[in-house]
Symmetry: C2
Subunit: 238 residues, 2 copies
Amino acid sequence: MEPEKQTLLNHHTEKHFTAGEVVRDIIIGVSDGLTVPFALAAGLSGANATSSIVLTAGIAEVAAGAISMGLGGYLAAKSESDHYAREMKREQDEIIAVPDTEAAEVAEILAQYGIEAHEYTPVVNALRRRPQAWLDFMMKFELGLEKPDPRRALHSAMTIAISYILGGLVPLAPYMFIPRAAEAVVFSVVVTLVALLVFGYAKGRFTDNKPFRSAFETALIGAIASAAAFGLAKAFHP
Amino acid sequence: MEPEKQTLLNHHTEKHFTAGEVVRDIIIGVSDGLTVPFALAAGLSGANATSSIVLTAGIAEVAAGAISMGLGGYLAAKSESDHYAREMKREQDEIIAVPDTEAAEVAEILAQYGIEAHEYTPVVNALRRRPQAWLDFMMKFELGLEKPDPRRALHSAMTIAISYILGGLVPLAPYMFIPRAAEAVVFSVVVTLVALLVFGYAKGRFTDNKPFRSAFETALIGAIASAAAFGLAKAFHP
């Protein structure tokens, strides 16, 4: 590339935020981990269960939820990985078997941006001369697929599962120390509300959204979920 | 585009599978809906709870889970929508303020595929003459962002929440008819196992993965989650 263009690129920093995979997984895990065990515990407390029953249900739910999310996330990521490999093989076969059709697809992609034949043809021909680059171009610009990291599947699963467990322990902790659930629930509500607000704020900061609004929304989801759980538990077990 | 190229494109159908948003949301919702309420109910049954307690906990969990996933999904989709709008505004400002830098970025994107200056320069200039197309090009090819559908957020949330509820009712149904949880759990295990296998198979067909392996994996997650819930529930409430 011409030195002048490279200089322009070096001097100009684009400030586009891209949330990391790890942050996203932590947010997914903690979001559900704080909310569902809290609502379940609050609901059962309202139905006059003992702290012992609440803890039993809560811990069982946290374990089941963490495994479901973690293993589920792992399998989903592995499935994306397999999907990418299969699509890449298909594109590769097509580049070899029907190169004129693939070349026409490159032309069609560029033509969508108002680029005319005499303008895009040199680009199409350049790609035809470099099959590996051509394949990468089709994967990204025709299929919109990014090459997934093979270790990401396991890493993602562990992050989500651990985040869910840590999230879930927050609302359940009071029940470990206070045998009367009707008492423990008060502490659970306070502790979880604070956690939801703090976590919602952090989520807003990381995703470059309005953090105070995010804090409010996160706490509101917790409140709605626990109100629903409370109401239904009372209805089923007054 | 030349008629010859268009003909090639019309005759050749690329068989690339792109899972619909709705299918993905149903899979997300039912996956967790089948697994977590089942494991919670089985775990509590093992800890000698009555069907009444199991149902109370199960229904409360399904409500809380559906709300958390549904509302959480809605807010996440809205957040993506806001993010796209902000990024688009930023790109637009940069195209107006520092067009030479943005043009250099287009060059850099194409240069990654071995395309040389004399080949990509007509394309860069064509984009510079059409600011709207240039903006769309940067959004897609520099940032990799697709324009989100504004109604998708609500639709996605409803789909996930309803799927979670329908999934959760399957393992809980036996407890509605059989008062002894130790009896109900047997039916719950059988019914849920069948549902997990069937759903796992369907998931595999939709995502173009090996359906029998998907059925096995889905059932296995359910088994592991319920074993963990069972073990922990017995430990906390023998």
